[in-house]
């Protein structure tokens, strides 16, 4: 039986020690010391079976975008506006009232005739590439546990993020860049770094957070630039370091720890310019920058494409700090939010396609849950005096995927007549994770890590691969 890797393997096994150097920010190809082939098939760093996707980009609409205003049109809701609708025991986080129609028009797009609201007209141009899942479900209508569930597969307990699991399972493709990057402009989403934590996996699998609104790359990554030294001076300094380290090594028997550390300085030196290069969107031609449009989200989409081209494994693009899509007060706010990201998402898909990257990149769009089709009622401390917003809803919501082996122009599952609860082909977040991992060539039941006497896996004891959405 395959013995799942344990913390001890990661720490004691020499070959693995070298491999560990190859994870996290700046993998190390250790020349003669390590070849990728030396990695046994059962160790992390290799897929379990042939992957359809090599990389993931998660466009995270944090706060919870409303399904009935974006990708799940509900004529019955429009018809029953202002009237009570049967809730069938569905409880919302806050007081809610009658049906609230969507103020946005839906139309059909592409050969598949996918219905998308006017909010996402640029995204809709790629209708034939989108696989919309209208039957997502989560566990509770609160942001924090739902973010944890979507990102880490457990609403309550501190578990590693899916990005950490994926980089643990597949390793890195680029020696000089982080394998897992989380970009968010102007701060962090709520739950902050817990959204990309490695938890009990080694720290090198943790996501690297970058504030994409910072114009200077050297301020985005800690210690990336020396504020005082010139490049040529640092190069000379490294020459001396190498000489002294080689003196030290020469009087000792072969020791991979010492050699790995020597090598890590050379990598770090190279990373200084390569990371700067990868994240500097100013280097893109004007036509490409115009395609993505203005704004922070466009900027980070462009960064994401540059990172993908350089082999970064898992990228999260957060809409903004806090929880921007949390339109409790007025659903009209969705218009502004969509305007901030739709053009860039459309351009991103166009750009990936024209570069042949979409086939092996799995793009996921969505929030931690959706919103109620009924109006949220006012109460002290929130949405004073207006009744135009929607509350949280975990009973049914929409996400879409594109590229990476999913069916294009496809709709999976359905919610009830009003868009409240998933009723057909329900897909829990665990199922989404299992399916994403499957597309990456990872069996969610075999991707395990031994910790605290137990083999943990990203989907705990849940999750099933939804084959209906795989092309």
């Amino acid at each position: 039986m395959h013995h799942p890797p344990t913390a001890r393997d990661l720490i004691l096994d020499r070959r693995d020690f070298l491999q560990r150097c190859g994870m996290g920010f700046g993998a190390m190809a250790l020349g003669g010391l390590l070849t990728r082939e030396s990695t046994a098939a059962t160790l992390p760093g290799n897929p379990h079976f042939a992957p359809r996707a090599k990389r993931v980009v998660h466009l995270f609409m944090n706060g919870g975008p409303s399904q009935v205003d974006t990708f799940d049109p509900k004529p019955a809701l429009q018809a029953r506006h202002g009237q009570p609708i049967p809730l069938d025991g569905l409880r919302t986080e806050r007081p809610t009232g009658t049906a609230l129609r969507s103020p946005f028009n839906f139309s059909r797009h592409g050969e598949c005739g996918l219905e998308v609201s006017e909010l996402f007209s640029h995204t809709a141009r790629h209708a034939d590439d989108l696989c919309v899942i209208r039957s997502m479900t989560a566990d509770v209508p609160n942001h924090e546990p739902s973010l944890m569930l979507m990102n880490c597969g457990d609403g309550r307990l501190p578990r590693p993020s899916i990005g950490s699991w994926v980089t643990y399972g597949l390793g890195s493709e680029n020696d000089n860049l982080p394998a897992f990057v989380s970009l968010c402009p102007g701060g962090m989403p709520i739950k902050r770094a817990e959204n990309w934590r490695s938890s009990f996996l080694p720290g090198s699998f943790q996501g690297t957070y970058l504030d994409s609104s910072i114009p200077r790359v050297e301020q985005m990554i800690e210690n990336l630039r020396n504020p005082r030294s010139r490049d040529s001076r640092q190069a000379a300094q490294l020459d001396l370091l190498r000489q002294l380290n080689e003196e030290h090594l020469a009087t000792r028997q072969h020791d991979p720890q010492l050699e790995a550390r020597i090598r890590s300085f050379e990598l770090a030196y190279r990373m200084q310019s390569e990371a700067t290069d990868a994240l500097d969107v100013e280097r893109e031609p004007q036509a490409i920058r115009d395609l993505y449009g203005p704004g922070a989200f466009a900027r980070q989409c462009l960064m994401a494409r540059r990172l993908l081209e350089r082999g970064v494994r898992f990228i999260q693009l957060w809409h903004g700090n806090g929880q921007p899509w949390d339109s409790h007060d007025d659903i009209e706010d969705h218009r502004r939010l969509a305007r901030e990201c739709d053009q860039a998402i459309g351009a991103f898909l166009t750009d990936l396609k024209q570069r042949g990257l979409l086939d092996e990149t799995l793009v996921l769009w969505g929030g931690e849950f959706g919103r109620t089709p009924v109006v949220e009622l006012p109460q002290a401390g929130s949405n004073k005096g207006v009744q135009k917003g929607r509350d949280h809803n975990h009973y049914g919501f929409s996400v879409w995927m594109a590229g990476g082996g999913v069916k294009g122009g496809h709709v999976h599952g359905a919610t009830d007549d009003f868009g409240f609860a998933a009723v057909q082909d329900k897909m829990h977040v665990h199922d989404l994770h299992a399916t994403m991992l499957h597309l990456l060539g990872l069996d969610h039941e075999r991707l395990t890590f031994r910790y605290s006497g137990r083999d943990f896996r990203p989907t705990d004891v849940h999750g099933r691969v939804v084959r209906k959405i795989i092309a």
Partner: protein
């Protein structure tokens, strides 16, 4: 008998298929579980008459079995480096080195070990080890947007330091951390801080917090994964849900006091009075806010509305959301108070009680119009609140369920969301004062038991919403089980069970940890001593150490002496090459395993060698390690935010404090190298050491090198090292040590816009953040003419000149934008100029327009400049503008681009040029290299 019960339990739990399998192969699995090595008492196998050192005795046996030959002894200097760093986290003293090198005998060696153990730095080092076990952090994790700090976590850390330094017997060490409140004789006893083991963990909801506490105790002291039995009996170990929920129940009953006990006096006694005044003010603010809520409920005008809402809620059967919405639509009425009135009135209208006053009120309301309703409710409210109340209501007012019974201290019962938010902010403020005020005294993160105790229940599948029947708490079944003795509170009884000399795990678990902290890897997996782990190869050694540790009364210092006086501790890092074919991973410790210093030792050692570290101030509040002022503090005092763990800690493998960490991972990632190359701490410390007066007094390069080597490596450089270093110093390019490209902004004016730019002069006045020609813009000599960080106003016939002057050489470009903020007026003219570049962009800016401005790359030398000039030749009406400029720079056309200066951040407030930064010192670079070198990082 006990064994039989265990077999039964274990067999019953097995699935049918497994049971058949078990029968088919005999009941081997059950016996295997029972005969598990870790569940049997350790035995010392070394014959009493054998004089050999027990560590070496057992290792020799293992080497012989495997055919290994041990390494030779290392040089005495190596022993000392190991002992000093491992025991104290700091280098040995020059005197210790000299003495041991002069006489490397047992007497001297023991004397040096004793000195190291007597150094208070020992407690700091070993407290940090234990903080990994205890998942120590200074914050509780995610807490919405409120202050998430534990202001007094540090008192637990300081207690650990004292406990190690005092060599507290392990039994006491364990018991205090679990049940100090039951063991101390006064409410302000400093030992209460020991309970931090339980309380400094993450907080993520009641059951999760308790689960974390079960885990830290059972894995921390017993290396047993009891937490796995939360939702079902353990899949592989004989641990049942009953075991888990017995301990869970004990910890569920341990609650934190509302006010943490003060256990000492404030570090700054003079500030204590000020602190007390500030706290009193905050308490008063809180009381007033609560009183306001109660007054609102009890004053007749507002009470009338509450009563009316309660009546409507009763008549129209409102649910909670409807009540919330309706209450809110009337203004700020607390829904919880409405619901209380509704229930109270409903209760007293019931036919069997039928209060006549209530009945009359209800009857009148039934037919009333709106103004009458209002009046009826107001009258009714006055009857309730009159003193004395209306005779028919007097008895009701006296009932505890009457909403009028609420007082300020119970105001939280009816707080709405906004009240709760305000309340949380007040608490947060209180917590901030306690954490930061210099007069705030230390407090223990203490616990006490609920009275009465809640009974133990299992939760079906771990779901708190599905509690099972009550059961009697019992000790862990796999360690003998049985109910806890009734003569002690359950938590103390649990602590005694853990420290019971008959407990086969406790001593083993501890000596295994200590072994690993000294020798680099453990004898058994510190994360799990359960039946999935087969007996360790060196079990006899583990057991011998456990037995001797217990015999010594649980003295950790005695254990250190035992381990450090072994030959094994003093072996060389290299041994016979043929061993590699047998045990390359050195699992039998036939040589000393070289290893990298952890982050704390590395940082402390660096700061020690630079002379910054203060080693005589033990304990105190946690400090932010990014703050240069923290360079005097040892790393053990770092403020650890489990919610936003600093990237340095992540890069350097500090275990995440959300979990108990059985051991640290050890990774080599480029972020670590970046820390050595570019990190602010190493850069400022290198400059500091390079400027040391003793070094400055030496002029000869060899002498200087010798001084630096002694300081950092405490040895002389070898001939080759000297040659390499001197050669490197001789070859450095002086240009590399000139200041990096920098410069400064100037805001100038030309009185005549046809004059040459060289005649531009400063504005006569800088005030209110802008450059101008007189105090008031509308009456200044040149009206409206001014410039500030965000924008300004040009003047017809004059020119506004924004100049950036270079202080170094390189390539720069000026980039940014200009925007007109008003619609009217005529076009403005702008242009760029530089003596280093003949023709630069220019343009016109119509009213309301905006434009991007960007120069090409310009080669500049120190003193050269680029000018942005703005004129208003067509008139200056409505000519206000916003601007935003920056200077990008690069050393050469191929090197990386960096932003050098942004006008908004570096806007000049005077026209005198800033001092040129001093040239850098190649010796500082050399010092930095020595700190970054492998020799400095590894313990040989």
């Amino acid at each position: 008998m006990k064994a039989t019960a265990l077999i039964q339990r274990f067999t019953v739990r097995m699935s049918f298929r497994t049971s058949i399998l078990a029968l088919a192969i005999g009941i081997a699995p059950c016996f295997e579980a029972l005969a598990h090595w870790a569940y049997e008492s350790p035995r010392a196998l070394q014959p009493a008459e054998n004089p050999e050192h027990p560590v070496d005795f057992h290792l020799a046996a293992a080497w012989q079995d495997a055919g290994l030959r041990p390494a030779e002894l290392a040089a005495p200097r190596r022993w000392l480096e190991r002992a000093a760093h491992l025991l104290t986290g700091l280098p040995p003293s020059a005197d210790q080195i000299r003495r041991l090198e002069a006489s490397p005998d047992d007497v001297t060696w023991r004397a040096v070990i004793d000195e190291l153990l007597a150094n208070p730095a020992y407690g700091e080092r070993w407290a940090r080890h234990w903080m990994d076990v205890a998942r120590y952090a200074d914050t509780q994790g995610y807490n919405f947007d409120r202050d998430n700090r534990y202001p007094f976590a540090y008192t637990y850390r300081d207690w650990l330091i004292r406990a190690f330094n005092d060599d507290l017997p392990y039994e006491r060490f364990v018991q205090l951390q679990i049940a100090a409140d039951h063991l101390v004789d006064r409410p302000d006893h400093p030992d209460l801080a020991a309970l931090g083991l339980i309380t400094v963990g993450p907080r993520s909801g009641g059951p999760e917090t308790i689960d974390d506490r079960v885990d830290v105790i059972t894995r921390g002291f017993l290396s047993s994964t009891v937490s796995c039995a939360r939702c079902h009996d353990h899949k592989t170990d004989p641990i049942t849900m009953g075991d888990y929920y017995s301990i869970y129940s004990i910890l569920e009953n341990a609650v934190e006091p509302g006010e943490l006990p003060v256990i000492g006096s404030a570090a700054d006694a003079s500030a204590h009075q000020a602190y007390l005044a500030e706290i009193a003010a905050l308490q008063e603010k809180d009381r007033a806010a609560r009183q306001e809520i109660i007054d609102h409920l009890k004053s007749p005008e507002t009470l009338a509305t509450y009563l009316e809402l309660a009546w409507l809620a009763m008549e129209q059967s409102w649910d909670a959301p409807k009540t919330t919405a309706e209450s809110f639509s009337r203004g700020r009425f607390r829904p919880q108070a409405v619901l209380r009135w509704r229930d109270f009135l409903r209760h007293h209208r019931a036919p069997e009680r039928a209060n006549p006053r209530i009945a009359r009120w209800l009857a009148a309301l039934a037919t009333a119009d709106a103004p009458t309703t209002r009046q009826l409710c107001l009258d009714f409210a006055k009857d309730w609140t009159a003193s004395p109340p209306h005779p028919e209501l007097a008895a009701l007012v006296a009932e505890p369920a009457c909403p009028l019974h609420l007082s300020a201290d119970r105001a939280h019962e009816i707080m709405d969301v906004e009240d709760q938010q305000a309340h949380a902010l007040r608490r947060s403020e209180m917590s901030r004062v306690q954490a930061e005020h210099p007069g705030s005294p230390p407090r223990a993160m203490s616990l006490h038991d609920r009275k009465p105790l809640l009974p133990a229940r299992t939760y079906h599948r771990g779901d708190p919403a599905a509690p099972g029947p009550e059961f009697e708490r019992h000790w862990l079944g796999f360690l003998g089980g049985g109910t806890f003795p009734a003569d002690a509170p359950p938590r103390l009884a649990l602590a005694r069970k853990i420290t019971d000399p008959a407990n086969p795990l406790t001593a083993r678990v501890l000596v295994n940890r200590v072994w690993a902290w000294h020798f680099g890897s453990p004898l058994a997996d510190p994360g799990d001593f359960g039946p999935q782990e087969s007996a360790p190869v060196l079990l006899p050694l583990l057991d011998e150490l456990a037995v001797r540790f217990s015999r010594s009364g649980g003295s950790l210092k005695e254990l250190h002496r035992l381990l450090l006086t072994s030959r094994a501790f003093r072996l060389d890092t290299q041994g016979p090459a043929e061993n590699d074919g047998i045990d390359q991973a050195n699992t039998r410790f036939w040589k000393w395993q070289r290893r990298r210093l952890d982050f704390e030792i590395m940082r402390d050692r660096l700061l020690f060698s630079s002379g910054s570290l203060s080693t005589n101030s033990i304990g105190g509040r946690s400090v932010n390690l990014d703050d240069p002022n923290a360079d005097t503090r040892r790393s053990v005092y770092a403020f650890i935010d489990r919610f936003a763990l600093p990237t340095t800690f992540v890069s350097f493998d500090l275990p995440h404090p959300d979990h108990h960490a059985p051991r640290r991972a050890e990774t080599t990632v480029p972020q670590q190298a970046l820390w050595y190359l570019n990190g602010p701490l190493i850069l400022r410390q290198a400059e500091k050491l390079a400027a040391h007066p003793e070094l400055a007094a030496l002029t000869d390069a060899r002498q200087r090198l010798e001084w630096i080597y002694q300081r950092i490596h405490r040895r002389s450089p070898t001939a080759r090292e000297t040659a390499a270093s001197l050669d490197w110093l001789a070859k450095v390019n002086p240009a590399d040590y000139q200041p990096r490209l920098s410069g400064h902004w100037r805001v100038l004016q030309l009185r005549d816009d046809a004059s040459p730019l060289t005649s531009a002069r400063p504005f006569p006045l800088h005030a209110d953040g802008v450059w101008k020609t007189g105090p008031n813009l509308d009456s200044a000599p040149i009206r409206w003419f001014h410039a500030g960080p965000k924008g300004g106003h040009p003047a017809a016939g004059h020119a506004l000149v924004l100049r950036w002057e270079a202080l170094g050489a390189g390539q720069i470009r000026l980039a940014g934008g200009l925007k007109r903020t008003q619609k009217g007026g005529a076009a403005l003219h702008w242009s760029l100029h530089s003596e280093a570049f003949p023709k630069l962009p220019e343009g016109k800016l119509p009213p309301g327009g905006s434009t991007a401005v960007e120069s090409p790359w310009i080669d500049v030398q120190p003193g050269q400049s680029v000018d942005f000039v703005l004129r208003a030749p067509e008139g200056d009406a409505f000519a206000s503008f916003d601007w935003d400029f920056r200077i990008d720079g690069r050393e050469t056309p191929t090197s990386a681009i960096a932003e050098i200066s942004r006008l908004a951040d570096a806007f000049p407030h005077s026209d005198s040029p800033p001092a040129l930064p001093p040239a850098a010192d190649p010796w500082a670079d050399l010092i930095q290299v020595l700190w970054a070198s492998n020799e400095f990082q590894f313990l040989d």
